[in-house]
Subunit: 349 residues, 2 copies
């Protein structure tokens, strides 16, 4: 969610009298330039002046992290966010969980002919608010228009560059006894999008957890916590990450079923839909692995930051068992947790 | 065009028994990982090991250039290239004309459900060959699959990072008497794509000029040529660039009609189709502006490099006249050159 402060004072995009995007808006001529100038108002900064082919970025010696994602989510707006804010936070969080302070963002828009300039303006305003929250700048971009039927409304690609602050040993270094934390309630984003798409009418409607994770990473770094691995639980959910980690370190990830934080709304909706919240995507929640002696400090630090103030321990790394990921139920029995496969929740990012 | 050397020894992608891309290939689970591992074989390098969320890049103090483009071209294959090589050269050239040595590339694929893995493999192999020619590495990426009908086959976004080597004063510094050069015959790419799309049956079929421009930029830099502005003549063609430059410096760009290099094939095809080659896109040809005292050195240097060995002077910057861009015909009369507008050639990149 975006703070009121961030949404204030943000100039609106301006498309003049153009109500719909036409193919001519994508052809590199006068209309393209008018579209771009209108779109860029809310995100304007020194890098975008004169619309150069590329942004020239001053860097200091060190390490940068570079990441990209395309966003094809449907519906484009849902409780807690839209494709615009998602394109910012999704890529900003990929940088953050790599230990990098998010800095610069590129945006590549693919727009279907006939798309409403009003909705495009809303998405651009949403991008502008999100880059402020994420502490980033949009420094370069591209717009393509495709004929009606060649794309579903609006796709956004973003690529981000961040400065590496907290190098991580990585999931292949996980060892027996390391602890697994999550920074908040899981499954919120996937459920919010699914409920909006299928008009499921849950009351209250599940809301996406979408926001910037960097403040949590920065707090861990400032406190000197020795984080071994971090990952935001997007496509594939917490289960997807833990399967990747189990594969990387050749151990079993063992979760305690009672400690997995799930809101009442998400738990109820998942039961109705036959989904496991561990398979459902988050967009502002990450899994963090720390050595056991760091776990209480890590939780204390994470809980001082708004985005991670509900951080809890959910399990640990154990010796390799039959299943790469397993959940210990309340009576002690271990139940294997499947790897996400098939398409239970398409187009949630 | 790609050299034979670059196409040799390139491992092929491997998709196992999957003949078609399914939605499950995009869901972040086991199938996604299998798809990615198969795709990455031809472009493998140290940054892609373990498929991290972001690539960690070592940088030295200085300036980087960051640029992005999405590619939605149809048809996806045409004489001289395909959407894969275009996604590499297009972004590499945006960096090169910004004076930056192309280094690192991200790839974001949006694939329509049902897309042939055979064709995907060809595109990935083409990307792999092109990054070698361009001197770049694919360091991070993303794959999304959308349902049938939600996209037209395959869209590719690429974002590139290059190291600034040759800072350019920029088109706002152009002054009366500066000379305008092009590095080769114009309009080849747009005509090749249009002829392939519409099965126009020209003989010989026009072939895209697609290739890496960096060697030409590097040669200008090495020779100490004081380049004022450079731009690859993509969407909007040479006319589009000259209109932007005229706008930036508030002068008129004056071309000599007899000196504009156009192949017989492109000239003939343009006459038939009612197009001006100055409006038709190139993908391996750029416009270069230099002070008049540098023009002979610049041409000599450019002609030593394969990509620009047909470089010629096409005109100069003049005092501001009625039209921002004008062409002097053989009998001396000046004809204004329209800014590209409308959509004469959609989806040529």
């Amino acid at each position: 969610m975006l703070s009121d402060e961030a949404s204030a004072n943000c100039p609106l995009p301006d498309f003049g009298d153009d109500e719909r995007i036409s193919l001519a808006h994508g052809e590199g001529g006068r209309l393209s330039r008018r579209l771009l100038r209108g779109m860029l108002k809310p995100v304007q900064n020194e890098f975008l002046i004169g619309l150069p082919d590329g942004a020239t970025l001053p860097v200091s010696s060190g390490k940068l992290v570079f990441s990209t994602d395309s966003y094809v989510i449907t519906p484009r707006s849902f409780p807690g966010g839209d494709i615009g804010s998602l394109a910012v936070f999704g890529t900003a969080n990929d940088l953050a969980v790599s230990g990098a302070r998010p800095r610069w963002l590129s945006l590549g828009l693919i727009i279907e002919e006939g798309f409403s300039t009003h909705e495009l303006g809303q998405m651009i305003a949403s991008i502008a608010r999100a880059v402020r929250v994420a502490g980033m700048q949009v420094v370069t971009g591209d717009t393509k228009v495709v004929p009606r039927g060649a794309a579903d409304g609006l796709f956004i690609n973003s690529a981000g560059i961040g400065e590496l602050v907290l190098p991580l040993p990585g999931p292949d270094t996980l060892s027996q006894g390391d602890r697994l934390l999550v920074t908040g309630k899981i499954g919120q984003h996937g459920l919010a999008v699914l409920a909006a798409r299928e008009s499921l009418g849950f009351d209250p409607a599940p809301e996406s957890d979408m926001t910037a994770l960097w403040p949590a990473v920065e707090a861990l770094h400032a406190a000197g916590i020795r984080v071994k691995a971090m990952r935001d639980a997007t496509r594939g959910g917490v289960a997807g990450i833990l399967h990747e980690w189990a594969d990387a370190c050749d151990k079993t990830m063992l979760l305690e079923s009672g400690s997995i934080p799930v809101s009442k709304t998400v738990r109820g909706a998942c039961e109705l839909l036959g989904l496991d919240p561990l398979h459902v995507a988050c967009e502002g929640t990450m899994v963090v692995a720390v050595p056991s002696e760091e776990v209480s400090d890590a939780l204390r630090v994470l809980r001082t930051v708004e985005v991670s103030n509900e951080a809890v321990e959910i399990g640990s790394v154990s010796e390799k068992r039959m299943a790469p990921v397993a959940v210990r139920r309340s009576l002690g029995q271990l139940v294997p947790l499947d790897e996400p496969s098939g398409a239970p929740l398409p187009r949630i990012c």
